[in-house]
């Protein structure tokens, strides 16, 4: 992607940024996140359909922040995460340069977060039909069956927390699971511990998740935890309006209004 390489090189050359966070060649046929700090290495930047890792996760990492102001290669899933991070006051417009990539693989600049929101308004989050079917099927199960379903699905989980680590919106420097006064969530990877963690994770993403599927892609046991986040997305959309980050509207579940619908907790 020559435009990308040229832009990245220009930014580094002028010292507008000190690091370019992008995708590079990985193991076998994979791609991986690369952190380019000099003009020559810009050649390593690639972009193709294999580039699915959500790079926005690196924007809140202290080791990356130490490198200086970043430019970040941002296909749509990354753009959504950047906007949500902006909504949550984790980044400001001066903190980064965005090298947006359209679904047609064209480079697009975003000077402001508002311009990202305008662009994303024409690329709304849409839950794929096949997932809608599975989610409906699970929701239609009686509670006991649903419980058994999830206990079984989560059985391979060994609490590696790759899902947490890969999610750009899990940026707490000390996660609730690391509290032990009291130990809110069981550390152990037994059925209860697994349920507690995954329910809590989904709930903490309610109104925030942008359906990038980094959690599912990261899971070494290929557990379909994206079903939980997608289901949550749907519930939030149905109860509180359209989903997706917005600079004007407050975060759905971290703001309170007296006329809030409370049907979901009845």
């Amino acid at each position: 992607m020559n435009e990308l390489i040229k832009s990245a090189a220009a930014l580094l050359e002028s010292n507008a940024v000190q690091v370019v966070i992008g995708y590079g060649k990985g193991s076998a046929s994979r791609t991986r996140a690369i952190f380019v700090t000099n003009v020559t290495d810009c050649e390593k930047l690639i972009f193709d359909s294999r580039c699915v890792q959500n790079l926005a996760v690196y924007l809140t990492k202290q080791e990356i922040k130490k490198l200086g102001k970043p430019a970040i290669v941002a296909p749509i899933p990354v753009l959504r995460s950047i906007l949500q991070l902006a909504v949550e006051n984790q980044i400001t417009e001066n903190d980064l340069v965005i090298l947006g990539i359209t679904p047609e693989s064209e480079l697009i600049n975003f000077e402001t977060f508002a311009s990202i929101e305008t662009f994303l308004a024409t690329h709304r989050i849409a839950i794929d039909e096949k997932y809608q079917e599975i989610i409906s099927k699970i929701k239609n199960m009686p509670v006991a069956e649903r419980f058994a379903y999830w206990v079984k699905e989560l059985e391979p989980c060994f609490k590696c927390y790759a899902c947490r680590a890969a999610c750009p919106l899990c940026y707490c420097t000390r996660c609730t699971v690391e509290d032990n006064q009291p130990q809110w969530i069981s550390v152990a990877a037994h059925p209860l511990g697994n349920l507690e963690w995954h329910i809590m994770r989904a709930m903490h993403l309610a109104g925030r998740c942008t359906d990038c599927e980094a959690c599912y892609n990261a899971c070494p046991m290929a557990i379909p935890i994206n079903l939980l986040t997608k289901s949550m997305l749907q519930d939030v959309a149905e109860n509180f309006g359209s989903y997706g980050p917005s600079l004007d509207k407050e975060n759905t579940l971290s703001s309170f209004k007296p006329d809030d619908k409370e049907s979901f907790i009845r």
Binding site: K159, Y161, A166, G193, C219, P220
Partner: protein, 309 residues
Amino acid sequence: MYAPKVKGKLTLFDEVNAFGEIAEDYIVTSNSAKEIVFPRAEKLFSYHKSKEKAEITDAANNTFPDVILWGTRPCDAAAFIPLTDIFNSDLKDIIFNKRKDKVLVLSFSCSRSDDYCFCTSVNSGPGNIAGSDVLFTKLTTGDFLAEVITEKGKSLVDENKDLFEVKSEESKESNLAVVASRFNQEEIQAKLKDLFENPVWDDKSRACLGCGSCSYVCPVCSCFDIQDEAHGNKGIRLRCWDSCGYGLFTLHTSGHNPRNTQGGRWRQRILHKFLYMPNKSKVAGCVGCGRCSRSCPADINILDTLTSL
């Protein structure tokens, strides 16, 4: 019996109840077989407190079931050696040893490998017998060469004489995968002691997300956390998997964290496996299975670091 089983797009070690459930076409499973001797959540004891005393039921007094571990690769079997060493170093772990005693390891050598494999660089190989009770190698005839390595393995063969036939030397080598050597382990070990301050650790770990995947799929990694789960007067103490990759792994109560960068934690992983363990017990903490690299969500490949040293 635990054997590789297909689960969706992965092949995992899991309990099997019928031969038909066992997967055949895999290089290595996504998870390791260490769960058999080192479960992800293991009850160490349970307790019951009353006014006068606390009754403790020690899991070390339990008997553990016989387990046949079928379909381990030579790397998986070799991993039991450093694992057993760790659990018998300064303290002989009763539960680990009881579990291990009940396991029969029936391994299958590798007829193919991929770029993630590097067993031949860590004193192992696609036909390594270390750690197995019997090692099977599939021959071109469709029969299997069975190398009987331990007394336990011999007992199995003696009990099933009709399934085995003593044969003269069968060519094992020609039925094994060719795994190119990627580095010299002794050279790396010698270099590592001078590389503590080297920028390679920060460089190679920039993309690391600090999850525990690599530690948890590794057949040798055995760091654990102790958790008490109490309900009123009763409770259990659990030993749970932990990972040195986590940001808070070395957080002191004082608030000081001696390993507070991902680079420091990546360095620890490599030094522990390739310097500290060989120094302490002569065996490296890595068998070259490549699971860590395969599972890493950020595609951190351990070979990148090791070959760059």
